[in-house]
Symmetry: D2
Subunit: 338 residues, 4 copies
């Protein structure tokens, strides 16, 4: 922690800061510059908060210099973590494409989806049983019944399943249906009680980035899960909110190399929700893999025009198959496999 004192600081004011540091068990290094005096905290600064110092007289600003996240940081764990999802490795050299529809509609639709996902060469499947919808009057998902439909469809093709958890009270059902990967959606990235709950179990968790979450807040949200004991966390970039209105979100590809530097955990990308239109998905998928993503969450529907939600962002089975070919070539270009 660095505490910057204002221009006309007094010895008394410096003394008060030093005293507060010492009371917290740290030491102070005082550097008197020409324009500013800077006090450096020596010791474990994670127990300090900036606001412990900023209201003190004479203090201009205070800032952490060490990262606030610990378990998820690469500093604490140098090698890439490879997460085992029912036998499918995520975070290693092989890139994983998770395909499937936005929402579980019918058994037939899910059976067909699973077949097409498998045929395209994907090893994991996605689908939503609980749906976070902007409007209370929109289809909210089939809930537990949807989990049942999904499980049956995926089992026929031996595909591990990924699906979203919206509320801690649904967790028992997720365990009952043996959901392979629990997804925490963008609107719940800082639903701290929910994060604590998934931190207590042993399932892999995909943590989607909040719509306007900074990289640092996102890492701290993952730290909530990790602090509970569950280290099987997968970051998923899904586009951020900006001023641009020509597309739904702005896919933040820079987050990929930055996360890979800051954390040892896998990083995947959701190009479907990012752009919001099926025709943008190939370009965004290619960019994500080229930038180093460990996987993708791609929406595919047997018949997009008839989808019950997000119809305009799902690929057709043929489009997915074709894209898989290109993604394989790009993965190869950077020394990875698909």
């Amino acid at each position: 922690m660095i505490i910057v004192m204002g221009r006309e600081v007094t010895d008394e004011q410096i003394g008060a800061v030093v005293k507060k540091l010492e009371a917290a068990g740290l030491k102070a290094n005082i550097s008197r510059g020409i324009e500013r005096t800077v006090i450096g905290a020596i010791g474990d600064e994670r127990q300090l908060s900036e606001e412990m110092f900023t209201p003190l007289p004479g203090v201009e600003s205070a800032m952490h210099i060490a990262k606030q996240y610990k378990i998820v940081s690469r500093e604490s764990h140098k090698q890439n973590t490879i997460i085992d999802i029912a036998g499918v490795p995520l975070g290693g050299n092989q890139v994983q494409i998770i395909g499937g529809p936005c929402s579980v509609e019918t058994q037939e639709q899910m059976d067909l989806s699973a077949k097409f996902v498998k045929e395209a060469g994907c090893r994991l499947m996605r689908g939503g049983a609980f749906k976070p919808r902007t409007s209370p009057y929109a289809f909210q998902g089939h809930g537990v019944e949807g989990l049942d439909i999904f499980r049956k469809a995926a089992d026929k093709f031996k595909l591990p399943i990924v699906t979203e958890l919206m509320d801690a009270r649904q967790l028992d059902a997720f365990i009952e249906y043996d959901v392979d990967v629990i997804q925490i959606g963008t609107r719940n990235m800082q639903n701290f009680d929910l994060l604590k709950e998934v931190g207590r179990i042993n399932k892999p968790v995909i943590l989607k980035r909040g719509m306007s979450a900074t990289i640092s807040e996102w890492l701290m949200a993952a730290e909530y899960i990790a602090a509970g004991g569950n280290h099987n966390i997968i970051f998923c970039e899904r586009g951020i909110r900006t001023f641009e209105t020509a597309y739904r979100n702005v896919l933040d590809v820079t987050a990929i190399p930055v996360l890979k530097k800051e954390t040892h955990l896998p990083v995947i990308v959701d190009p479907s929700h990012a752009g919001g239109k099926a025709w943008m998905v190939p370009a965004l998928s290619q960019a994500a893999i080229a930038a180093g993503a460990d996987g993708l969450l791609i929406e595919m529907h047997p018949s997009p025009c008839d989808a019950w939600c997000d119809a305009d962002q799902a690929l057709t089975p043929d489009e997915l198959k074709k894209l898989m070919g290109t993604l394989g070539a790009i993965a190869g270009a950077i020394g990875r496999t698909l």
Copy 2:
């Protein structure tokens, strides 16, 4: 709903759109312009979604023209709704200032806070028992014990209390301690399961705006509560996330007149979280009242430097009292009372 067809649209493509409209029970008005053909939906468009049409061949874009929210809209209820909070009216001519500390720390701190809040002339009190913190290692609030402390302190001064609910499983405790106003925090604005829960009870709810929620999403979040039967909803603007780093959030004063036009429900402002620094609170509070806010949530602590959280944004008791004087004068200037 307006459906804009691309430049080289065919009769067949127009026919498919018309058919989909008619299947949903609406009629179509076709307007063939020189550059674009536009199809207007005649009927109740709330059951349509834009994505029902955008994936169809020949469609360039689709947009709702009617509002998606209903119960909370001023169209459905012309007069201002005045919410009765244990006898204190919110949303009428009298402006309400809700004072109190960021978090419940000790019985003594809360007793003192309540005394100062009352003395300053506030009629409602705030304080957090469950705290949403960015870091899992930070103080998470006293929980249910905090509710008990808060209730006791406020009762001594006959102050109705406002406190944040973070998880549906805590709701019973909120009812047991007879929390007067339930606050839904910015990170939970789209925690739809939580919104549904508070929609089922009869308590006033303060719905804080999500960090990057649009006005429309915010109104739809309120509609979730209203759709459950609870119409006692108070909007609270608390600053939005932008590119600016000189202050924590940007207080969006424009939201005040815009909400007052769109909804009949009260609108309050939290100047403390918006700016993040105590010295900004007076200017922001004055701006909010001058722009037509029905109330404010202001942080005050008996001894800000010793506060356990957000220490740099709490006013001292004296600062609050002084500010109340200025706010009274501004309220008077626009024909309201404090």
Copy 3:
């Protein structure tokens, strides 16, 4: 300047940073913490840039701690600067409302506008002769002829004039027509060659904030003007660009107290361009004055529906007059006059 070294820093890496600091004539203070070593620069850090250090081995980050702006900072000049605009003081206790149409259309329209501006009680008038339009096919303003029309209309009512300069090559005409205040528009806030030109003359300059300029960049843009010798600079907040689409821009009222703290120069607000709708102007104007703005730029047109540009944001003469009454009461509530 603070230079934070990575976790596994070597003595050699520290030595290289110290050497670079010393080569620039500064001294180094080395603070070895448990997780990070921090090197503080002692001396005038304005000549250093962060990028001088960040590419060096072992450096994690570097940050300025002193402000980069100098002449415009309150540190360098404690009292408020009051700018004299042809006898009208801006920046003192009296608030100034600058009224007038978006663009100069005809002599009759400007004569009428000047009359209404004067009658409403404004002491300064605005109007655009050179117009920055998003489309090359839109009306681009009357140019020099517009300056002539404006000057004549304003002179009849002894109103000093404010108008926008878009290109250095137009400056001679601005001097010829004795424009009282030169406005630099939001799109030119970082047109550094233009800033240098208005820095060489002696006219008051209104510097509008760039659409997504930080407070710090804005102060640095003003420093460009000041560094040329012209200290008659007025900051004008006009709304920033965010994710919100319900209104054109988000008026950043927090910028008002923050600028008043950082600089001695006057701060005004343009509520008309911020919201983009006439009906929002009263609430935003009231908020700005209550937050401490020294003045406002308000669009008024004798007949808004017939305005050639921005028709939907101009007040009618009657609306302006009524608003002036409310603004006077708010100014009084905070101890100022109108």
Copy 4:
């Protein structure tokens, strides 16, 4: 143009809108829905502005449905435009990497840079003689002398040159030194007078995206150049401003496919300014090519640590050479060449 009327619209109000449309030479289609009446304009809507209708009584909103840009739109020109830069094609199947230092420092530095750029396999070179700097006290570039140095260095290796124009008054020097591609920087994207000037000459122009410019504003800025007669325009995405502080800008890869759909002109990307750190450049470059960019502007310096500006974002000659190899493989994966 679609004009949406409010809920309780009268025949008189509809009549006023129709009259205004007819006065502008268009016809009206009236569609009376249950909740809203919608008036569609039939005819060339480019001459209409939304604000012509929004202030009229009864009007709720007005929106264009045809694009406002014309010459630059793909609707007006279906094939990709390939721009010839002194024999080097940009916009065709071959991807172009434009390498070079941030600023022209010395003849020796530029000679070395040109040599390394050529050796890495680039066919075009970049370098700044006029530098837009945030601070007036920072190095502002060598100006005309810099053009001379750059020209000499590039000529030795037969590399066409790209350099930034900041002010119309410098244009003669650009023509004298036969600059091959004129770059308009992010801060000048809406410097309309400058756009008009480069619209009058015949040189290729790189138009960088404004820091917070929407795709639509960017296309309109290009239309300013095109309307003057110069159709040799290259779009350059360079990162946009968002809330994220972990990196300088957010590279908007979605802009690549969206622009390729909306315009026939080439689209390139500047990964160096986007991320702001050299170590991010490979991932961002790879993403940009994979997403379909026609070229890249990459900063390389013979000795990055000694660079006079943006030292932390330049690649070394070796890093550039290595990156070229990977980019070639990615270009191949999507059927292009490097």
